[in-house]
């Protein structure tokens, strides 16, 4: 008797849907895709969108896009939580999220749990479907491969499986019991990278986490980059390309774009900012004051960075060099 998880499949796709989408909607040509944060969010991130975020929750995250989603008061998002940390937590603070495919969420690793994230789940405001980091990565990989699912050997024998939307299967060759992980094709992915050219070619330094596959798997990909570089940056060294241009729909230059998160080789965590945010998360009142100050009262990410201050930004760069 093969079992199946009782969790809801928050986003489903068939192999034909993947192909048809890519045939109809993905540009083949080298087209200038540089835009602004506000117009990219307005164009692609709608109420009810299934959103995936590149990076690792508080490392290499696209905060300009996250703040803008909150600022535009987008609602009812479903979010892929493959190690979601500050990225998801800010979206929850902005009441943008209805459901999460959880691998890791509502917590800040060595800093402990997030009161804001916990409140949202414990009050029933957010629905959780359980997965694991590898499961979500492989689900994304399946979509990136244009396949309906991938078999794997994790999840089996756990309640994580019971509360997922995975199914057990038998290997057609050996009869070995496996788990079938359904392809995940996010409506929109937002990915912060080190370098991008105007066409959308991207270079990521350090661990890719899963962003190469994520860009291939998603219907729409919005990229923020520490630096926009000429396309010769890639043409002279094509091995630098982590994400090829045809996966990407919009490109925005956003130096310090992972603040208060870490950006490998660029700047380390703004610990005092993150700790201040976590403290504000103790109750809704102080959390809304935080959002008023850092999100609603600033026009864009440049104004936000002015608020952070150039002295602090310089310190964070030094901290990254010291390790």
């Amino acid at each position: 008797m093969l079992r199946k998880g009782q969790g809801e499949l928050l986003s489903s796709c068939t192999v034909d849907e993947i192909r048809d989408w890519n045939r109809k909607h993905k540009l083949r040509g080298l087209v200038d895709k540089v835009t602004t944060v506000s117009s990219a969010v307005e164009k692609y991130v709608k109420d009810g969108t299934y959103l995936a975020i590149g990076g690792f929750g508080h490392i290499r995250i696209s905060m300009p896009l996250i703040y803008e989603i909150v600022r535009q008061r987008v609602k009812h998002l479903r979010v892929s939580g493959h190690t979601a940390v500050h990225d998801l937590d800010v979206l929850i603070a902005g009441d943008c999220v209805d459901a999460v495919d959880v691998a890791y969420a509502f917590a800040y690793e060595t800093r402990g749990l997030s009161k804001n994230g916990r409140r949202a789940v414990e009050s029933g405001r957010i629905k959780c479907v359980e997965w694991t980091n590898a499961s979500l990565s492989w689900r994304i990989k399946a979509a990136a491969m244009g396949l309906p699912f991938l078999p794997a050997r994790n999840l089996l024998g756990s309640d994580t499986f019971e509360y997922s939307a995975a199914k057990e299967m038998e290997c057609p060759f050996t009869g070995q019991k496996l788990v079938a992980l359904p392809a995940l094709m996010p409506d929109v992915s937002i990915i912060h990278v080190h370098y991008a050219d105007k066409y959308g070619n991207c270079s990521i330094r350090g661990t890719t986490v899963k962003d190469d596959d994520l860009a291939k798997a998603s219907k729409r990909v919005i990229v923020t980059a520490e630096r926009i570089v000429p396309d010769t940056f890639f043409r002279d060294n094509p091995e630098r390309t982590t994400i090829p241009y045809f996966c990407v729909d919009a490109v925005i230059e956003a130096p310090h774009g992972s603040h208060p998160g870490n950006m490998p080789h660029e700047y380390y965590f703004d610990e005092s900012h993150i700790r201040g945010y976590l403290k504000a998360g103790a109750n809704e009142g102080s959390l809304q004051e935080y959002l008023d100050k850092w999100v609603y009262s600033v026009k864009d990410f440049d104004e936000y960075l002015d608020l952070v201050g150039s002295k602090k930004l310089k310190e964070l760069r030094q901290l990254e060099e010291l390790r």
Binding site: T110, T132, R153, G206, E271
Partner: protein, 254 residues
């Protein structure tokens, strides 16, 4: 006599379980410290994998996240989550080193919820990479606090399977054969698993702790063998290494 905290003791005992020249996947927090300590003491060629993708880094100082830039410092490769867990699925990861809110007598770990899943009393982070590491690595080492609530007979949610319901259950579920929980380190004792029953058994009590204390603080019938030893206290060398790894006491000061 050297003075040390219970966290320092746990880190030292945990590090002793790791062998030189093997590959370990470490979770966030104390497992990270124990792996770094082993590298600085008896296991300089221990290879650490961090789930976000870094392979064999030379971690300069305590990372905040298993995915931050310190974890990838001078790594031999920067891959991704799939790259790490596929390596585990191929049988290349010898040890998984995980923490958990609850651990039961079969080494099942809960890090997802306390209470009902859909309306939980406490929502915890979830699996992260723990289920993947614990399913796919050869041996799983677990670090937990020792009291009746944290070591119950049955965890309220199996995030990461141990021996599930006993002998043969992992294989029956489809998990790779020959894998499973190996050691449990708490603030009171070091424990292992009985080969026949797959149940947790006491190996050693920490200095100053009695067997009765361990029994009283365990929520299930712990197997007590006749020859229970005393865990070795951290050495001066280990303590100074720990203070180098975590100079601000972010983990060891807790």
């Amino acid at each position: 006599m050297t003075s040390y905290t219970s966290i320092e003791l746990m880190a030292a005992v945990a590090s002793h379980q790791l062998e030189d020249g093997k590959i370990v996947g470490v979770g966030t927090g104390l497992p990270m410290i124990a792996g770094l300590l082993a590298q600085k003491t008896h296991a300089p060629n221990l290879i650490i994998f961090f789930e976000a993708g870094s392979i064999a880094p030379q971690v300069p100082t305590l990372p905040i996240s298993v995915g931050d830039s310190r974890c990838a410092h001078k790594a031999v490769a920067a891959t991704g989550l799939a790259g790490i867990m596929e390596t585990g699925q191929r049988g290349m990861i010898d040890y998984a080193f995980l923490g958990g809110a609850e651990v039961d007598m079969y080494g099942n770990i809960n890090s997802t919820v306390i209470g009902d899943h859909d309306s939980p009393k406490v929502r915890l982070p979830g699996s992260g990479g723990a289920n993947d590491f614990g399913s796919l690595s050869w041996r799983t080492i677990i670090i937990a606090r020792h009291d009746k609530a944290k070591l119950p007979e049955k965890v309220s949610f199996i995030t990461t399977p141990g021996y599930i319901e006993g002998p043969g259950a992992r294989e029956k579920a489809g998990l790779p054969k020959g894998t499973g929980p190996y050691k449990v380190i708490t603030n009171l004792a070091l424990m292992g698993f009985d080969e026949e029953t797959c149940r947790m058994k006491l190996i050693s009590v920490h200095p100053g702790v009695t067997v009765d204390q361990v029994k009283e603080n365990t929520g299930f019938d712990l197997i007590i063998p006749e020859d229970v030893s005393i865990s070795s206290a951290p050495t001066e060398e280990e303590l100074s290494a720990l203070r180098q790894i975590d100079p601000d006491g972010i983990i060891i000061g807790k």
